[in-house]
């Protein structure tokens, strides 16, 4: 166990708290830098999706995790970023211009969503963001002169000052990695500034924050704008990764997936966004692999336990027919969400912290350290 004696304020808000951080994050970055040269192209492409989801996760973390404003409309912000990139690229605008331009435009739209959100709390805010996302989806489908409607838009290969960055290449991977690291650093720096502390105060108690002199309206709009702008950046990368975008890619289900990222990761720290993104993106190939392997494995175990070979074959067929049933993925998604909320409310990052603390305090770990206080429902109507 390491004890840090804090002697001044700067030490308290430092991003890298002690030398151990240099080592662990340095090694992590080195591994990530080496990754594209080690793994195959499929896994690399999955990791790129992890990075893009993690960027959205960081954005949502700022809004939902730290400001306490729920949003089920982030797919719409992603869509605005993606379409801005596609449209500006078609007009011949270079990447260096349209990358920030997408962020700025999405940020402005985010601020516009933030304004009605000032008066809404809880469930009203959720429905307002859903409504916003539906309207954006419909606009994308109808504004054919810009978005080509439901036919969708092709996105050409990304190109920075004449150097093309194909979507499967290492360079594109590094672009995503740099964007994610930049966004994480931005989020961490934001959260240790007065703005970030104001966000956290708003999450914990609006009334208390207000009486401490925090301008609720300004900070909520700021939070929405920053979150949307970061999602816009992710949208540009998403568009280039997909090479084709159409309105039906940015539905409510995608927004729910983004919320799952932070809930599964743990909605109280930026780490959670990354953990959640890894989980959400990797669950799909994992399930596919499981679908192929588990029936064979089960039949193998059954026959080694003395089951007749035709019975074992039948078992394998039944299991693979269950595994390939349409909609199994949805059921497993639903189960995962429910299980995490019931049994692991702090998400994967919370589990990580628990395991870490267990080893740090080894014989003295108490389960109660992370126990949540059970509260009685108090009406939100007069809170």
């Amino acid at each position: 166990m390491r004890f840090i004696f804090k002697t001044d304020y700067d030490q308290d808000i430092r991003i890298l708290k002690h030398s151990g951080y240099w080592w662990s994050y340095g090694i992590l970055l080195a591994v990530l830098a080496a990754l594209p040269f080690v793994v195959g192209s499929y896994l690399q492409s999955q990791v790129v999706f992890v990075l893009i989801y993690a960027i959205v996760g960081v954005a949502l973390m700022i809004l939902t995790g730290f400001t306490g404003q729920a949003s089920l409309g982030h797919a719409a912000f992603l869509a605005i970023g993606a379409y801005t990139a596609a449209y500006l690229q078609k007009l011949g605008v270079p990447f260096i211009v349209y990358f920030p331009a997408a962020a700025i435009l999405t940020g402005i739209v985010g601020a516009m969503v933030g304004f009605p959100a000032l008066r809404l709390t809880g469930i009203y805010l959720v429905i307002a963001t859903i409504a916003f996302a539906f309207i954006v989806e419909e606009i994308l489908a109808r504004w054919e002169s810009v978005t080509h409607g439901n036919e969708g838009m092709r996105v050409r290969t990304l190109d920075i000052v004449g150097i093309p960055l194909p979507r499967d290449g290492e360079a594109f991977y590094f672009l995503c990695l740099f964007t994610l690291v930049g966004c994480i650093l931005l989020a961490l720096n934001l959260l240790r500034s007065p703005t970030g502390r104001a966000f956290i105060a708003i999450r914990d108690s609006e009334t208390a924050g207000k009486s401490m002199g925090i301008d609720l309206a300004a900070y909520k709009v700021k939070s929405f704008a920053i979150s949307a702008a970061i999602t816009g950046l992710a949208g540009v990368l998403f568009a280039h990764k997909m090479t084709f975008i159409s309105p039906e890619m940015f539905t409510l289900l995608l927004s729910i997936e983004f919320i799952m990222v932070i809930i599964i990761g743990g909605a109280f720290g930026v780490h959670g966004a990354v953990f959640g993104a890894i989980f959400i993106v990797m669950v799909d190939p994992f399930l596919t692999a499981l679908k192929d392997d588990v029936p064979v494995l089960a039949a193998g175990i059954a026959s080694s336990l003395g089951m007749a070979s035709d019975a074992a074959g039948k078992l394998r067929d039944t299991m693979s027919s269950i595994g390939s049933a349409a909609g199994l993925k949805g059921a497993i998604y639903g189960l995962i969400i429910m299980m995490f909320i019931l049994f692991e409310p702090y998400g994967l990052y919370g589990r990580w912290l628990k395991v870490k603390l267990f080893f740090q305090l080894f014989p003295l770990y108490k389960k109660a350290t992370f126990k949540r206080q059970k509260t009685y429902v108090k009406s939100e109507r007069n809170r």
Partner: protein, 291 residues
């Protein structure tokens, strides 16, 4: 003019459908401040239950109706016990996510059990029409309107004039205080989920001849009923009905008079405008902040 009235009437019928589902949202919210995103999927389950009883087992319509409603009530209670009770009292958004997860789960399970084809059942309301002059109203739609109005009235009376209803309102106001007053809070919460699931099942059974039964019907209708509940002011029973009517009428009229594409968006635009002016919805109690 006749066109307009005809559109208005079918808008009202559609609105009653939304109102009926919104009623389920409102009931649970009113008693426990939990927003059940799986309400539409509970309705879908009700439809499949009645299909099993009537279409597969060959029971009489009314008997199948009764069984489906009772079955869903038990199902609602079980859901409350397993999924909601352990997380009651935690931030509202985590409960919302849990019910979204439940919705996902129910949709795929229903798809796996009953298949992905459109199912339909014969009801006493199928195919009949009701005529006033040139106005045409199908019996199945009329049955939805009548059922919605009756259910709204009964539930409104239940909440305002019975001991149990008062206990439910007290629970929603302050759960701890309700415990102190000797209200069996856990039973109240179970009961409210049972009632809500039963209302959803009723909606599912009545909609079965209109929309057919398939696993995605709940999501589509639930996403429209949800704005209806919000528009009326979450937590107000007449509000759910009025909200549903507004959404239904706007959707139908927008589909008829405005260019294509407005039909699906118009309800949401109206919703956003209403929320801008009255953040607590049309019939919601005014929110006041207390420290």
């Amino acid at each position: 003019m006749l066109d307009f009235i005809q559109q208005l009437v079918s808008g009202i019928a559609l609105g009653c459908v939304y109102g009926l589902i919104a009623l389920g949202f409102v009931l649970i919210y009113k008693a426990t401040e939990v927003v059940n995103f799986a309400q539409g999927d509970l309705m879908m389950m009700g439809g499949f239950f009645v299909f099993t009883f009537i279409g597969l087992l060959g029971l009489d319509y009314w008997l199948g109706f009764l069984f489906a409603v009772c079955g869903m009530a038990v199902f609602g209670m079980a859901t409350e016990r397993v999924l909601v009770r352990p997380i009651l009292g935690y931030p509202q958004f985590s409960i919302v996510m849990a019910t979204i997860g439940l919705g996902y789960f129910l949709r795929s399970i229903a798809g796996m059990i009953w298949g992905t084809d459109d199912l339909k059942i014969d009801t006493p309301f199928s195919n009949g029409v009701f005529k006033i002059g040139d106005l045409v109203l199908a019996h199945d739609k009329l049955s939805v309107i009548v059922a919605t109005v009756i259910l709204c009235a009964v539930l409104y009376a239940f909440f305002n004039y019975t001991r149990m209803g008062t206990a439910m309102r007290a629970t929603s106001e302050n759960m701890l205080a309700a415990y102190y007053m000797g209200i069996p809070v856990k039973r109240v919460v179970s009961l409210i989920w049972a009632i809500s699931a039963a209302v959803a099942a009723t909606a599912g059974v009545l909609l079965a001849p209109i929309t057919f039964i398939h696993s995605n019907v709940g999501l589509a209708l639930g996403l429209k009923a949800f704005p209806a509940a919000v528009l009326g002011g979450f937590g107000s029973i007449p509000g759910a009905l009025v909200g549903g009517l507004i959404i239904g009428v706007i959707e139908t009229l927008a589909g008829f008079y405005l260019p294509q594409g407005w039909k699906d968006v118009a309800p949401y635009i109206v919703l956003l405008v209403v929320l801008l002016v009255r953040p607590q919805g049309l019939f919601g109690p005014s929110m006041r902040k207390k420290v």
